[in-house]
């Protein structure tokens, strides 16, 4: 069953075409990796789905509703959550309050004005899931880079999105942190629809199932990891630019 349906999506910035007639469908429960060299349009695609960038033409349909021209918070309320390449958590709030704020987004304004006696009931469980329980009452500003990414994932899960868009969740992480994030991702993917943008080939080999390759704003190919890896066009796109590593 289709959750997200992108038809003929084009995004241009002046003379530059960031996305060029993209068609993409995503089914319920899928875990999809989105790869491609720098400037391929991966982040633009996520930005366009989440309302940060407006499509020049084409339609984005989510769960039967078209998302074009809806503002960011309405898209979140429709059930699409995202993280950013550089994690943004609220440094002057505690870890628990960050998650609590994320979990409370469906409260009405006057409910937000009340003084909460207890944090949102899901907060302890979510922090447990991402392994941040020992830091419950620490200010988010004191967390390490990896911990911030996990806090962002906890905040995302707190909102019960139908679709999660993760923009480079392991960028800048240590090997141990990558493994932990990969396991977390596998568990999340069991009961969520997830799109992951990732550059890291090793991470991809370990956790990716379905992969879509973007190149210069177009979809180059799509399939399971082995097929995509053996596709000569993909090899050319990657090897033609930077050998071995995909990141410059």
């Amino acid at each position: 069953m289709t959750l997200l349906d992108i038809r003929d999506l084009t995004v241009t910035f002046g003379a530059f075409t960031a996305l060029d007639h993209i068609d993409l469908t995503l089914d319920h429960g899928e875990l999809r990796f989105l790869i491609g060299p720098n400037g391929a349009g991966k982040t633009t695609l996520i930005d366009t789905i989440t309302g940060r960038t407006r499509p020049t033409s084409g339609t984005i349909t989510f769960n039967g509703h078209t998302l074009n021209k809806r503002s960011e918070h309405h898209i979140v309320r429709a059930g699409i959550g995202r993280t950013f390449q550089t994690s943004v958590v609220f440094e002057h709030l505690t870890v628990a309050d960050n998650v609590d704020l994320a979990a409370s987004f469906r409260l009405r304004p006057w409910q937000l004005l009340r003084r909460p006696r207890t944090p949102h009931p899901e907060v302890p469980d979510l922090l447990e899931r991402v392994g941040l329980t020992p830091h419950t009452h620490a200010l988010a500003g004191t967390l390490s880079h990896g911990q911030r990414q996990w806090l962002e994932i906890a905040m995302l899960l707190a909102q019960h999105p139908r679709l999660l868009l993760l923009d480079e969740p392991v960028a800048g992480m240590s090997a141990a942190e990558r493994t932990r994030t990969g396991e977390l991702l596998t568990r999340i993917a069991a009961d969520h629809t997830v799109v992951v943008i990732e550059h890291d080939m090793d991470f991809l080999r370990r956790y990716a199932r379905q992969v879509t390759v973007l190149h210069e704003g177009r979809i180059l190919t799509h399939g399971d990891l082995a097929t995509v890896q053996n596709d000569p066009r993909v090899q050319e796109v990657y090897l033609g630019r930077t050998p071995q590593e995909t990141r410059p």
């Binding site: 960011e72 918070h73 979140v76 609220f90 469906r106 937000l112 004005l113 003084r115 020992p134 620490a138």
Partner: protein
């Protein structure tokens, strides 16, 4: 699940915060000070406390919500002028020479009847309502239209500043309606009571203290609610907040409007205490002074902001009594020192002192609480 530090662990400074201190301060302010201070000093203190009310509002809008409002003189002025117009009407009605006629400045400029907005403020209740609602309405209108367009930071600050400048130009230009640059003055009566008696001054003082306390309690409640956290989140990452499913527009507009309302209330209290309102009291420079007081007191702390206004105004009087003119330089120096050495103001210094006091007695209490939290 929510571990609170054990009472024995609290430092002397930490113990100073809380309802007991609040009540003690309130009782001292209401019961002791009116007897201790001579009427002139009590009158000055009342004026300072009016600025403390403004400071509380700015601490909410700027300290929590990150909206640097360099035009709060406008909201203060709207409250003040609403009250001043009413008091002028009351004075005109009470004076046997002008009874039933127009206020003198209006008659001199050739007007023959009261403008509609003067007529609307004839009743004391109407004046009080207008002093609260006009600032709220203007701030809501401005806030909503500006925040919706995602105008923020320096642009928002400049817009506010321009508003203050425009307001002053309007007041001076419409001399026949507003008294021009002379402003409005001479307010002997309010709702049938003389304002010149010592009792009236004490009553005004009491009212101001109670308004300050109520404003503090209301805003303190808000800062401890989820809405308070949302404001901090908006201050630190407005775009990120949108991706949490919140619309920052209403949250910011509410904080801005509340802070404008507080300024309006302060303005209305200020007029009968000060006995005059004029454009020089509410223009660009006074607006900046209001923000400055909050910066010195500590914009992260409501109590700090209120104290900042009190201290800065007291210092202004004390120093300008001793060496006239020197105050401006001293004020500038004070501001530089605070920004350079204590960017979180006096409240920030108190916070640092508290943390320093806590450290030697209990090693790493933060870690203990964290561990306690992790065990189910």
């Amino acid at each position: 699940m929510t571990p609170t530090p054990a009472p024995g662990r609290r430092t002397p400074l930490a113990r100073l915060r809380g309802p007991a201190t609040f009540l003690a301060l309130l009782a001292a302010a209401l019961l002791l000070l009116p007897h201790l201070l001579e009427p002139f000093r009590l009158n000055l203190l009342t004026q300072y406390l009016c600025y403390s009310i403004v400071a509380l509002g700015i601490a909410l809008a700027w300290g929590r919500g990150g909206m640097l409002t360099l035009g709060h003189g406008v909201y203060f002025g709207l409250g003040a002028y609403a009250m001043a117009i009413h008091l002028t009407l009351a004075a005109t009605a009470a004076d046997p020479l002008t009874r039933g006629r127009l206020p003198q400045f209006m008659a001199w400029s050739g007007r023959t009847e009261l403008p509609w907005f003067w007529q609307a403020l004839t009743h004391p209740a109407a004046a009080v309502t207008a002093a609260l609602l006009l600032p709220a309405a203007l701030a809501t209108l401005l806030g909503w239209s500006v925040f919706r367009q995602r105008v923020r930071g320096a642009y928002f600050a400049l817009l506010n500043q321009a508003l203050a400048a425009a307001f002053v130009i309007l007041l001076i230009g419409q001399q026949h309606l507003t008294g021009g640059s002379n402003g409005l003055t001479d307010f002997p009566v309010f709702a049938g009571h003389s304002l010149y008696t010592p009792t009236a001054q004490t009553t005004l003082y009491t009212l101001t203290v109670l308004t300050l306390a109520a404003t503090y309690l209301l805003l303190r409640h808000l800062t401890h609610s989820r809405y308070g956290r949302l404001l901090i989140a908006i201050r630190d990452g407005e775009d990120r907040v949108r991706y949490l499913g919140y619309d920052p527009t209403w949250a910011k507009t509410l904080a801005y409007a509340l802070s404008a309302t507080a300024a309006g209330a302060a303005g209305a209290l200020f007029v009968p205490v000060m006995g005059i309102i004029s454009p020089t009291l509410i223009g660009v420079v006074p607006s900046i002074m209001m923000v400055l007081a909050v910066a010195i007191g500590g914009r992260d702390s409501l109590a700090g902001a209120a104290a900042g206004a009190l201290i800065m105004n007291t210092a202004q009087t004390t120093f300008s009594e001793t060496f006239t003119g020197g105050w401006t330089y001293l004020q500038g120096a004070l501001f530089v020192v605070v920004i350079a050495l204590a960017p979180h103001g006096l409240a920030g210094l108190a916070h640092t002192a508290r943390a320093a006091l806590r450290r030697p007695r209990t090693p790493a209490p933060a870690q203990e609480t964290a561990t306690a939290g992790s065990t189910p």
